[in-house]
Symmetry: C2
């Protein structure tokens, strides 16, 4: 955990930069606008540890998958979102010294991410090889107003004497992914280039990207019309300038790039579009363009902000979570999804995981149900691929892939891809969750039932009946806890399969009643028979859920593992995944992430308070939270069972997972999807937000460190503002009709006339 960062409630500030923290801070200072994005790389390059990355959402390449032993069901291609051309780059030399913070000296380094408007600013004094100093200020943003626009302002002021400054803004298509192995190959082919534009395409998927740059130069804010040398070589274009810069004169380089990809636009149009877009935008200066983006951010913050008074540290952290999640995914494009690292690293290949359904979708439910619906439709549209995926494994129904960009399975480690089939239930649960929250039962008719029925069909085929014990078992799975692979009867997997089978059975009856025509149409399409629905119910009733006393047993044999708790692991061996061999991790009782606890969270109403408490205490002692997806869930459950100190501790772990580098792996990229979980640990945890019987329920708690917690929540066309102070809960209806709301199980009416206020119950946080 390194805390090299400071800042305030709206900013992340770094004043100490060195090669040891360069990868970590590249991740932290990532920028994105949903359309494109990349790591906090330096425009001028960096000779030390760096992972230079810039991505266009959903622009991927099917790399050949390599296997030691190919097994049936493995995909032959390994899709990955690939680095798109480097558009941020500006090569700089001052008096012959290459500007490189690894190779040359510098002082007064400061980098600020302004989360309010998405501006990344960096300043330092560069010391060239002769010891001469120059003041450098670099600003950059990706426009939220115009998703194709990148803007950079790079200013250089020689302090001690005049300087010869050579600089070359460029666009470079010679980019690779660092994980492509020894025989690294470039995924891009050149299509076209001229002095300011470069068009490249991927070799096999035929994605095109056109980028056009325009450079504006000024001296002490007076525009300078300087000639440049056009550099064109391979998939690279640059504009090389040489300026004789007088002492204490400010050279400002403004680089604007407009980048379009062919995902949703005809590939022959994108060059034209990027050229006209840059022509339009380069009429303005950096600050003016920033203003437009800032305006958009203002709107976004109004919608998404979670306000915490009295604890700047938490406030900053939750804003960081909100900023990064909402700049990764803006919910406009139904064909996009949310990858665990977003635009902040190559890991996880920019692909979609079950993280979306469990950690992000419930967050968007309270923010914008249309976004949640778009996420559901993303999966609905890939139902044929999910059915094919099950077929590839010799199974009926639909098995949604573990990792995907095109609906097909995009990764193969059998212990995950073939075994972490619990993800399938997450797809069904998301539909349930959405309908409960929105009341949009039409979704079930139009899209939902096809999905849940095919998932139920999968489970019914995947179970094995144990005639000795008269139960259905699910063998050979990996639960959410990826430290234990290929286990039998993972409690979470079984629980959720049981739930899906029952839900699908009930929904079959509901749909038949609601819309028999549609019901019959679906039954015909997939050849569903009445007996099959009944069978689902039967299986659901008899699925084996192992318990030992009060403890739900994570999997068969869990208690035969070497029984360690988190206190048995010395601090210098954490995270264990970076210190212990897989062999060792596999055979002890330590858990990577919420597994049984995730089941208790999702199906909270199915269990008694005592069951939740007993299991929380048991598993929390064994959980290392070496997945970012873990602490938020534990935090929510801790709130539900009244262990508020624990809930707060785990909230902070989730909120600071990246800022404090909790798991020593932020250098690979930020944990974007788990940021949804962080928000939920406030909304569903501290505030206790829940929808039941078409009503909102809350039972707020306020951590002692906080003075006020304020959120906005959208529920069925109503916009509510909920404030929790030490003593009081105030709810204002900002939009929509009067409604009832349950606070600590008491019914209140919220209306536009006046703000609803009631006393907060002060919990003893040690109960």
């Amino acid at each position: 955990m390194r805390r090299i960062l400071s800042g305030d409630e709206w900013t992340i500030v770094q004043e100490c930069f060195d090669d040891e923290n360069s990868l970590f801070s590249e991740s932290i200072f990532s920028l994105a606008n949903g359309y494109m994005g990349g790591r906090g790389n330096f425009e001028e390059g960096y000779g030390g540890k760096t992972l230079r990355s810039f991505f266009h959402a959903g622009v991927y390449y099917p790399d050949k998958a390599q296997y030691g032993w190919y097994k049936i069901g493995y995909p032959l291609k390994n899709n990955k979102v690939i680095n798109s051309p480097d558009i941020i780059g500006i090569k700089i030399k001052i008096n012959g010294s290459k500007l490189d913070l690894f190779k040359n000296s510098f002082k007064n380094f400061k980098r600020i991410l302004n989360m309010k408007n998405g501006l990344l600013k960096r300043s330092f004094i560069f010391i060239d090889k002769d010891g001469m100093q120059s003041d450098i200020i670099v600003k950059r943003f990706l426009s939220m107003h115009n998703k194709n626009l990148l803007a950079i302002s790079y200013s250089i002021v020689p302090i001690d004497r005049s300087a010869i400054v050579e600089f070359e803004p460029y666009i470079d298509g010679n980019v690779t992914n660092s994980d492509s192995g020894e025989k690294t190959d470039c995924f891009w082919k050149e299509v076209y280039k001229d002095e300011e534009s470069l068009v490249v395409k991927t070799k096999s998927t035929d994605f095109h990207i056109a980028s056009t740059m325009r450079v504006k130069i000024s001296l002490d804010n007076k525009p300078l019309n300087s000639e440049y040398i056009s550099v064109k070589k391979g998939k690279y274009i640059g504009q090389k300038y040489i300026i004789n810069l007088p002492k204490r004169t400010a050279l400002k380089i403004e680089k604007f790039v407009s980048s379009f990809n062919s995902r949703n636009i005809e590939k022959n149009e994108i060059l034209k579009l990027s050229k006209s877009d840059i022509a339009n935008n380069s009429k303005y200066d950096f600050d003016y363009l920033l203003l437009a983006s800032e305006k958009k951010w203002k709107k976004i913050w109004k919608k998404i902000d979670i306000k915490i008074d009295g604890d700047v540290y938490s406030q900053q952290a939750i804003r960081f979570n909100l900023f990064m999640l909402n700049s990764t995914y803006t919910g406009e494009d139904k064909s996009l999804n949310i990858s665990p690292k977003g635009f902040t690293g190559e890991m996880y290949n920019g692909s979609t995981y079950w993280d979306t359904e469990i950690y992000c979708l419930p967050y968007f439910l309270y923010l914008d149900s249309q976004i949640a619906k778009n996420l559901l439709l993303y999966r609905f549209n890939f139902l044929p691929q999910a059915i094919n995926n099950a077929k590839l494994l010799g199974l009926k129904g639909a098995l949604y892939p573990m990792i995907t960009l095109d609906g097909n399975e995009g990764h193969a480690e059998w212990e995950i891809t073939l075994m972490e089939i619990h993800r399938n239930s997450a797809m069904a649960f998301a539909i349930y969750n959405y309908i409960i929250a929105t009341g949009d039962t039409n979704y079930m008719v139009d899209f939902g039932f096809e999905v849940i029925a095919n998932i139920a069909r999968f489970w019914a085929d995947r179970v094995i009946y144990n005639s000795e014990n008269k139960v259905y078992t699910i063998l050979g799975v990996t639960g959410p806890d990826e430290f234990h692979n290929n286990v039998d009867n993972n409690w979470y997997t079984n629980l959720m399969a049981k739930w899906v089978l029952n839900y699908a059975y009930k929904q079959s009856a509901w749909l038949k009643n609601k819309n028999e025509e549609k019901f019959n149409e679906i039954c015909k399409k997939y050849n569903f028979k009445k007996e099959e629905f009944k069978k689902w119910q039967e299986i659901s009733e008899k699925i084996f859920l192992n318990r030992k006393g009060d403890i739900f047993v994570q999997f068969d044999g869990f208690f035969e593992k070497e029984q360690l708790t988190i206190y048995d692991v010395p601090h210098d061996q954490l995270p264990v995944v970076q210190h212990w061999s897989w062999d060792r991790i596999n055979r002890v009782s330590l858990i990577k992430q919420a597994d049984v606890i995730l089941g208790l969270y999702l199906l909270s109403d199915h269990f008694t308070l005592n069951e939740k408490k007993e299991n929380f205490i048991f598993y929390e002692l064994r959980t290392l939270h070496e997945s970012s997806l873990s602490p938020s869930i534990y935090s929510i459950l801790a709130s539900h069972i009244g262990l508020y100190d624990k809930a707060f501790e785990l909230f902070k772990k989730s909120a600071l997972y990246d800022l404090e580098d909790i798991n020593n792996n932020t250098e690979h990229g930020l944990h974007i999807t788990s940021m949804g979980g962080t928000c939920l640990s406030i909304l569903e945890g501290f505030i206790g937000l829940k929808v039941k019987d078409d009503k909102i329920q809350i039972s707020p708690y306020l951590p002692p460190e906080w003075k006020l917690l304020k959120v906005r929540v959208i529920f069925r066309e109503r916009l509510l503002s909920i404030s929790i102070s030490k003593k009081e809960i105030s709810i204002t209806l900002l939009k929509g009709d009067d409604m009832d709301i349950f606070i600590y199980s008491n019914k209140f009416n919220v209306n536009k006339e006046k703000c609803l206020k009631c006393r907060r119950i002060i919990y003893n946080s040690k109960n």
Copy 2:
């Protein structure tokens, strides 16, 4: 299973060649001489399905290992024996038609492997694009007399009219491995080339190979001094000839290549050596050189032959097994070992597996105990690496690698590399086996104890004490049955660990008594204390061996798997590994290969006849033999329990595993190591050969189809010839002193005076 082959007791003959069987037959007609070898590729190339391969033993390259998720303990490099320069190639055009059996017509195809002398001969009539015919006869061998020599005789006779024949014998260093992925790269760099020699070296391991070719041409057996055009491009040298060949005149091209690698020779010497070697050899003609190799093969056959009268099919098959195994490994070079596919394919990377210790070493024990000792020393010399390998996993003692070329682990699929730790016991058992067979107890003093003690130390650290059941468990392993990964308490693994711990404990006492100085030296070197030895005994006594009634349970939860037997699998779904997803394979009770049965075979004396029978019947019904290592072990055990029909059926399955392509994967290469098992199913199975208390025991059985079975066996400086006929057993002492031998538990004396004869007990094969 395709039976496109015929032949007799000394030959394998193919008269039907097409693209569908080309890969299969390339494997079958592989040639090797222990030093180098390759697949039965056509000299002139083949435009259809082909895997062109030629290897030098032990010349490898550390390819970068790629992982989806790197786990601690995984090697970063993936060593593989790589294709060495193609030295067999001759490009040929007849009247402008490229000679290619894929692209052009041919008839009367016949290919013969003469196992007696290692000559591969191919003849056919080639029909060029104008319909003109030419008689082609190609002969090739790798000399057993001179391990560096390859000789080819290629003869062309135009039948219908004269022909312009263009041909270009060549050496080509532009070779890759087919498994190197999309971004295939060549492992070789050029060092030197001239008209007849090419020297290349591997990029990182710095192995050098020098090859020199000499071509001799004759017309109707009269030498022809024709000029050639020297072709040199990149890592390629060729000699291009154009001959105007009169009708019915025989053009004979003799190509001799001498190839040296730098494994054991100074790299600057190898070019000189290959040049002088080829100068010496090219004085002679093909037939003369063949004679020298044939003479060597004659000696080899005298030593290794297993003679079967009355069943040509079995005779041919067992000779094929003997021929391939003994041309893969000749036992002269202690730094070499036996890879599962030898020189016949890329699969398994030319690496050493536990196959050697369990399937090959026991075979060599009866053939040449020095070879067996060399194999043991191969492992002894890699003990430091094995200790380091255990350390990498956070464990004490030594863990021998699963797959290796340099003593380090050379492969990473965690379920195999980290979990198939049963291989460790095989290393210890091989030492025990060797000492029992040879009486060479000095081996234990000089080398053996260090190895077994470090293996025992590993097991003592790897077990986990289950305080509830008061047993030691071994969790998270994969047994020999690779269909079930990451299981707990694999019976075989536990059994062999128990055995090793007990053996090492006993040997510690034995060594202390036998040679206290050496004992103290070893204890000091590895810091062994008396208490540690005692602990081994304690653990050994308490290792958990699960049984359910009479059945030894393969692993915890085996009986909870979906209970299928081999009769539940339709024929068209075999082998299941090519038809079922890994997900499905994992959760049923079907077994890939001998697992519990392997334990019963190795520690046969520890179990009652009834235990062996019950478990054989139970597991045989569930075993698919989708590893070539399986049927031989089942055959031996079937012999031991008197299920002779089954023993014979399984012997044939093992002997014909490649010739009949039992597992539909011979196209990737032959199953070389399992050929040792085939021989053992005769020696230890049918003949019942066993050493106990320093005496040989036999209890021979003769399959009804056979008239006579005759083998030679070496036992402690005695050479015995054992013949089994329908009614009689005859044993002749060919070399060495008188000795006692047990036949069906009766003691006999064998001496040089006369052949020992006794009546054979005729078993009812259905008992």
